[in-house]
Symmetry: C2
């Protein structure tokens, strides 16, 4: 921990990798493209997972588990799906010491195998809707891996629902998009754009894909969650039919939606600084770290008495007392700053005398973020301060999005804007038009934001009439 991270201004990519590794969120696995999620990173993921799982259940979904292995012929049943996923598949050819008759794909996503089961379980409109989610690992072969953001294996949840009507399925698709946005803003303190993906960016096999797009510290976009309206495409490919209220056989309307460990990378990049991570209190594995300060044995003893009282006062919060003997307080401050713990409590001999402690906020370095608090009001002060930090992080992230999102009217302006951050521009949605932008800037259309009024404008590329603005950015 004597190492320092590469400053963001020097090399943003290296800063990211440094923070992820030095904060012990993750490490490279022996197999290229894969990662190990270390205990601190996994504790963060567990909190993400819990907050999402609660929302998934509150909206009426149940968890289940479907197999890792998918027969190759399943993947091939939906034409767009196989075209999209075939190049990324990992394939098992041998099992139990024998060559398999049919090779098995490791699931890159589970529409196919779940579709197969739904066709077996669903018979009548009375069986609908089916609202199922699974937490699982998936594999998509990755040529340019980055810890959390793009790894060959990653963890995620994937929801898969089947409905009687098109309207119901469309409503579900949007409801789950809202759920992701709610999670991102209220738990991860990350403001997002919710929108419709362009045809070239939509999920392989979907009628329409929606995403939430977040702005990282360098102005790039991260697609942090997606929700797909699959129409009857998979229902037709897998024969998911039901007898409707008139006793006629119909195909179901299905949806799928997912959020993954990539979200952890988003949290690092939205909030972190050159000292390391800054974690939003609602998701932080450790919300408060207590660092005792004392030199003589007597000092240490009296400080120990105080830290015991602090632990008692803060019971139920996620706290840690760092009583490592072999490390200095300064070293510990740096260590927990690297790990992004939102709030630090310092206790020295003088604090013991006065029955006070010092609170230091991770998101406000230096004296401005420090505050002396009597032990008697520590609990309520800590609770309020954690809420304030949560709000401050969201606020700062919102301001960054505001500062770095420009409305542009010409191709030239668009090209300049995407080097600063996000650009909003009218677009006629002709997929050919994005190509030049991508070639010159690497930016692409991220989504057509839902929160905009229909208006009259001219396409930023061709000048034709366009009624909707698209969001353009370089993206992870």
């Amino acid at each position: 921990m004597t190492q320092k991270v590469t400053p963001r201004s020097v090399d943003y990519s290296r800063w990211y990798t440094d923070v992820v590794q030095m904060a012990e969120l993750a490490d490279y696995a022996p197999v290229k493209g894969c990662m190990v999620i270390r205990p601190y990173g996994y504790a963060l993921w567990e909190n993400v997972r819990e907050a999402l799982d609660r929302r998934i259940k509150e909206t009426g979904h149940e968890n289940a588990y479907f197999p890792l292995f998918i027969p190759m012929q399943f993947i091939e049943k939906e034409a767009d799906h196989v075209e999209g996923f075939a190049p990324e598949l990992a394939v098992v050819t041998h099992g139990g010491g024998k060559l398999l008759e049919e090779p098995l794909a490791i699931r890159p996503t589970s529409e196919t195998v779940i579709g197969q089961m739904y066709s077996k379980w669903i018979g009548s409109y009375r069986d609908l809707p089916v609202l199922i989610n699974q937490w699982a690992n998936v594999v998509r072969w990755e040529k340019r891996p980055r810890l959390f953001l793009r790894t060959t294996e990653f963890l995620w949840q994937e929801g898969h629902t089947a409905h009687e009507t098109r309207e119901e399925a469309e409503e579900e698709t949007k409801k789950m998009l809202e759920m992701y946005a709610d999670f991102a803003e209220n738990e991860a303190a990350i403001p997002v754009f919710k929108g419709l993906k362009s045809d070239s960016e939509k999920f392989a096999g979907a009628m329409a894909s929606y995403s939430i797009e977040a702005m990282m510290g360098n102005g790039w976009a991260l697609q942090a969650g997606t929700s797909h309206f699959l129409g009857q495409n998979f229902a037709k490919a897998f024969d998911i039919t039901f007898l409707d209220r008139n006793n006629e056989l119909q195909h179901c309307w299905t949806t799928s939606w997912g959020m993954s460990t990539r979200m952890v990378g988003g949290i690092v990049m939205v909030h972190g600084d050159d000292q390391g991570l800054i974690l939003p209190p609602r998701l932080a594995p450790i919300q408060v770290v207590v660092v005792p300060i004392g030199k003589s044995e007597e000092e240490k003893r009296s400080v120990k008495g105080m830290t015991d009282k602090i632990s008692e006062a803060l019971r139920g919060l996620r706290i840690k007392v760092d009583s490592r003997e072999e490390r200095s307080p300064g070293w510990k401050f740096n260590d927990w700053e690297m790990k992004g713990v939102p709030l630090r409590v310092e206790v020295g001999p003088k604090d013991v005398e006065k029955d006070t402690v010092v609170l230091a906020r991770r998101n406000q370095p230096g004296k401005a973020g420090k505050q002396t608090v009597p032990l008697s009001v520590l609990r309520q002060t800590v609770e309020i301060t954690l809420e304030e930090i949560q709000k401050a992080l969201l606020e700062r992230a919102r301001n960054q999005v505001k500062d770095r999102t420009q409305e542009v009217r010409s191709f030239q302006e668009l090209k300049e804007a995407v080097f600063q951050g996000f650009a909003l521009a009218f677009w006629c949605q002709d997929p050919e038009e994005e190509v030049q932008l991508k070639e010159e800037t690497k930016a692409t259309s991220r989504c057509i934001p839902l929160d905009q009024e229909e208006a009259e404008g001219k396409c930023v590329f061709c000048g034709k009439d366009a009624s909707r603005k698209a969001l353009f950015a370089r993206a992870y």
Copy 2:
């Protein structure tokens, strides 16, 4: 649900499969040997998982996540390990559309890849102990699959720890065995034998394996959790070394321990009856089901008022009100009996008049298990009753173990005993001796129970002096 399960007395195996499928715990997956865990089964697994995870964390362990893919050369580094696992491996030979330079095994267990990471992370005695657990899917190619009990892919937790000394590692191994026994008895209401595995049954690569063994409804044994003392075998194979307190380089002492979705099969087979599942209240996804009874619209309305009050009174428990219009009360009773819900609340028009409800216990069919309870004391009565059911299930299971476990002194007695249930017999632990027993009865030694005093006896096979009894049984 008009179907009936095959009675246990007719065909115990079919009874098991019927119950698992009709109670909608699981279904067969399209790939042979794999299963789909349906929402009801997964909710049960989530409760198992939560109760175990709490114990794992309380004993100082942290969760992490290691990759699914393991380079084949890793598996080959520990000689016994590769011999044990090679025949069961699933192997990925293609990724991203290309033939891989080195094939990748899907993890059958993770000692190897975790060992590799530990060798990187551990440098000094100050880094020890490392106490990590992971929740993951693993794959072992299965020729004779059975839902939950033996599936090619299954879910489990695997703990992997590294220690400074042999003593510490041995202590950890036993501590986690105790944890499994505590979970089995106090959550799943399943009494177990804790013991040491014989050499022929121990984990591939371990110095010593311990297991908990439970008795199923047919008298067979189920190994429900294992804890392995790995000595320095994996530390030597993967170079997991540390500088000790004298600044000398040493190999770590490691352990591993696991419990899997197989436990769900154990719960089915220990408690279930010819009506279906019987779930222990602490793990049941639904602890109380409320069935409203009423014919006329007026009756239905007044009963509805009552069920609302019941829901309110039982808030915080896992309850479900079954208000399906198209099903009769009798049909619902059968349905929830199949699903093993511990307690049913019936409410009809007469109950509304008297402000009472009828409680019916799943584990006591007929009038004996029924009780009329005033609404005013419903909450406390339900809580007490659930605790009583939990205890009664454990008690019944204990009695079954007692009734069907025999101490035997001759090979003839041993052979007869294993057709009834478990047999305890002095054994000199010569592995050759089990062979004939296995050939004639399919029974094997399950473990050398830890809870026995050293004594003087004669080996049941050869008559030689033996100081320990072994447990013999047919096993899943």
